[in-house]
Amino acid sequence: MSRVAPTPPRDTAVVDTAPAAQPPSGRIRRPQQGQPRARGPRESVLSRVSAMTVMAVFTLYFLVPIWWLFVAGTKSSTQFTSTNPLWFADFNLIENVTNLVTYRDGVYLRWMLNSVAYAGGGALIATILAAMCGYALAKYRFPGRETLFNVVLGGVLVPATALALPLFLIFSQINLTNTFWSVFLPSLVSPFGVYLARIYAAASVPDELIEAARLDGAGEVRTFFTVSVRLMTPALVTVFLFQFVAIWNNFFLPLVMLRDETFFPVTLGLYAWNSQVNQIPELRGYVLIGALLSIIPLIITFLLLQRFWRNGLGAGSVK
């Protein structure tokens, strides 16, 4: 890992985009600056029209596949092949969903719950751990601090997929493969989260505030959980979301770890069904409606937490 040490370049990158790490100012400045600019010298009609055209065309590119999936999810299997793929036929959505969730004793629901447990639980714990560690790196001085930080930074560059196989080998030594924990435990570590939490704690938790809490007699840990965490919230929501998406989308780890389908996350389950479509054609309909349902929780999470991640992503850009 000694190669990791010369990574401070990242710090320079941080410095350059540093204003982004302070979303409050960016957020406030924005509306004010939008107005006068709109009133500035007029943009030509041509450039307006071409800009809108480009965006409209790509809106189709991004949304039509999802639209198609939605329409396909509302059709019976015969109408799926016989009617216009981009428009509705008889509306069978409810029936399709019922069939899906009752198929083979509701194995699909089981997968969804697994995914929620892996991603929701994992991301929550990972965020708390990363927040504590990043906060300590930002606010306390102790020997080995820089080394620790550099090692963690190296961890950001190690792709999770590179770890899946060795984790499998280790877990099989202790008979832990093919269990819930084999996928859950490795998801609790987010080096990127530590990195983000450190930057954000340094930028948004004033030392004076911690000092004031000390004078009031609050312990360090209590100060962190009552005062500092609140100031770090936008960054922590971002860490949570990144980790949530990373776990939800993780494919290699469950693929190598799990044999028993009762532990599958929904992505692995749908993958398994999809690879059997040629033998069992009825699965095709289940794959489609299952894919549609599986993206809904993520979209809802993103929409609900929008105002957090939009600011937090600014800090994300410094990664």
């Binding site: 300590a136 001085r141 494919f251 994300g316």
Partner: protein, 315 residues
């Protein structure tokens, strides 16, 4: 720039590089040691268990070879030095898969980041109406996991089931020639919006005053974007590029899904697929060696890219 001060609050001046142990003794006591332990240790333990130990174990495994006494004798793992690495370097399909993902990255990453940059600049310009809608619409695919996106596009590419069968019945996107680019399209579709948002949020951090002067001098939006905005957001672009490079070398989910749509995707199509299929033989030692080489290659490539762009910045 003020953040740089916050970021490095350690008085580096007082700490010339010396062995840590000596320093510990000479140092005045660490304040709040208990709190530091409570904060750092939980992450530290898990990081060690699930990052450092696996890396070490992969390296260890890659140095072993299986030895048998006779043809049917019991298999034993013995130290084999760099034997597995020799096999890795002699393994044609592995290097072909590396070449394949490098080709993929050389085309797909610039297109994806180019699109993301254009969209971010348009969102940041006064040319558009309905920015909120576009921002969200372009970001939605990021909420679709790679596996699901690949399944979806697999249907969209299929000659018979696709809504665009007029196109797909004439061009076979799942053929050996095109399937790599069909996968590139899936990856682009998922990640453009995400990269766009990262670039866009660093555009938001540029103070408006910087444009005002250029505006008064009569510079158009294009000129402002080229001469002011892009140079200022280069760090963000660099970082999206690094993460894209890492992602490209690690391609797995999409090609693995495409194997059920197209026979052109072999079990050694990408480096990670090679790792996976080698470990299912099972030949764990060779698979571990593949993993180590791949992780090293990823690390070196992204690090080299970072260095390269920084040198350019300094000029």
């Amino acid at each position: 720039m003020s953040a740089s001060v916050d970021l490095a609050p350690t008085p580096r001046a007082d700490a010339p590089p010396r062995p840590a142990k000596k320093r510990k003794g000479a140092r005045t006591r660490v304040q709040h040691p208990l709190a530091i332990i409570i904060f750092v240790v939980p992450f530290g333990i898990l990081f060690t268990l699930f990052y450092l130990v696996p890396i070490g174990y992969a390296i260890y495994q890659s140095l072993l070879v299986i030895e048998r006494e006779g043809t049917f004798g019991e298999a034993r793992e013995v130290f084999g030095g760099l034997t597995q690495y020799v096999l890795v370097f002699q393994n044609g399909p592995f290097w072909e898969s590396i070449a394949r993902v490098l080709t993929f990255g050389a085309v797909q990453v610039p297109i994806m980041l180019g699109l993301a940059l254009i969209f971010a600049l348009l969102l940041d310009s006064p040319l558009l109406r309905g920015k909120r809608f576009f921002r969200l619409a372009f970001f939605v695919p990021y909420a679709v996991p790679g596996v699901i996106a690949a399944i979806m596009w697999g249907f969209l590419y299929s000659p018979s089931l696709s809504p665009f069968s007029a196109v797909t019945s004439n061009i076979n996107f799942l053929s050996a020639d095109l399937v790599l680019w069909a996968i590139a399209n899936v990856v682009t579709w998922v990640f453009v919006g995400y990269n766009m948002l990262i670039i866009y949020s660093s555009l938001l951090a540029i103070p408006a005053e910087l444009y005002e002067a250029a505006r008064l001098d009569g510079a158009g939006q294009l000129r402002i974007a080229w001469s002011i905005k892009i140079p200022l957001i280069l760090p963000a672009i660099t970082l999206t590029a690094i993460f894209s490079i890492i992602g490209t070398l690690q391609l797995l989910a999409e090609p693995q899904v495409f194997r059920s749509f197209s026979s052109a995707v072999t079990s050694t199509f990408t480096p990670n697929l090679t790792v996976y299929s080698t470990s299912s033989i099972p030949n764990f030692n060779l698979a571990a060696a593949f993993s180590v080489v791949l992780a090293l290659a990823t690390f070196i490539l992204s690090f080299a890219f970072l260095k390269f762009t920084q040198r350019k910045d300094e000029k």
